[in-house]
Amino acid sequence: MIWSCGLLLSQTGCTGPYSALDPQGPAASEVALLWWGMFGFATLVLLAVVVLWHYAIKRRAEHVPATGTSRWIIWGGLALPTVSIIVLLIVGVPVGHRMMPLPDESALQIQVTGHQWYWQVAYPEHGLQMIDELHIPINTPVHLHLTSADVIHSFWVPRLGVKLDMLPGRTNVLRLEASAAGVYRGQCAEYCGLGHAHMQFTVTAHDEPAFANWLNEHNTTEQERHEPDLLKPDVHEPAAHEATLDE
């Protein structure tokens, strides 16, 4: 099976608009690396166990009476998992730590509110609003302030970084960064009702001048004028958003 998996991998490749294995941001890259590392190690362990199992069944042992604790248990049962866990944590915890949205002056702040079934995006510093699309500069951390107006949704752009849930009444902050310009696709990852499968959005990453351009354009054309009918009236509490932005 492992081979068939490898075969398929080489065929389809790991690319695709939602592929976490085709990362274009630091967070997603680190996770992809983690995955390949863990995948390799897990494959080795699995193979070793299966081979041992097969051999243990086939081999004709002379009857050895049970004596004390088996070395199998000490090495395989205790040492192997303990060492693996320690290594995994030493590698993994800092990765998680680097994804944390620590207070950061340079970061662009964006608010995203999940609705059944669309994404309401706001740039509080620029007075911009839009639906189902985000625009970000490349190589700049972006702090997304995520909340929901109804049920739980989850914000996920697999090629840029990890996902984070959007909960009613709370604001979670997700740190994302794109390392190359392009259009990245995002989708809702938490089941949120009938429209869940189609609750998608795009993130367009511009290089620095293009992003400035984009901002200028949209500031002058007054987004709000043609968008507000899309926004439900119950889109609420700008106060809450600002409060969390200050922290």
Binding site: V93, H97, M100, L102, P103
Partner: protein
């Protein structure tokens, strides 16, 4: 056999006490952390060097030491039963052995669970 009280080594209750202590530690850590972060969250900038982390690690070390002591006590008991081999003793040895290992694992699990306190800031 039935004369042993529950806290004496060799009583079957010893088998679970290690992890009951671990559970209490777990609840206290998680609960304490949540309550403290609600009432008086230390500043994020301080990272892991806050009064809260200090308290949690001290508590962890205390529980770790307690569990180690209990493991030692139970292990000594188990070793003392080594020579004899009648039925009842076989049972007591079983209990002694199992509880010693479980105390030890509980101690290690406590320490392992407490270690992140050294590197992460508590409330963010």
């Amino acid at each position: 056999m039935s004369k042993l009280t529950w806290f004496a080594p060799g009583h079957p209750a010893q088998i679970v006490i290690g992890f009951v202590i671990w559970s209490i530690w777990f609840i206290a850590m998680y609960g304490g952390l949540s309550v403290a972060c609600q009432l008086a969250p230390p500043e994020v900038e301080k990272g892991a060097f806050t009064w809260l982390n200090g308290g949690l690690i001290a508590f962890t070390l205390l529980v770790f030491a307690l569990l180690l002591f209990l493991a030692w006590r139970s292990g000594r008991y188990c070793a003392s039963k080594h020579k004899e081999s009648d039925d009842a003793v076989g049972f007591e040895r079983f209990v002694g052995y199992v509880s010693t290992v479980l105390y030890l694992i509980a101690a290690v699990a406590t320490l392992a669970g407490g270690l992140p306190v050294l590197v992460l800031s508590p409330c963010s």
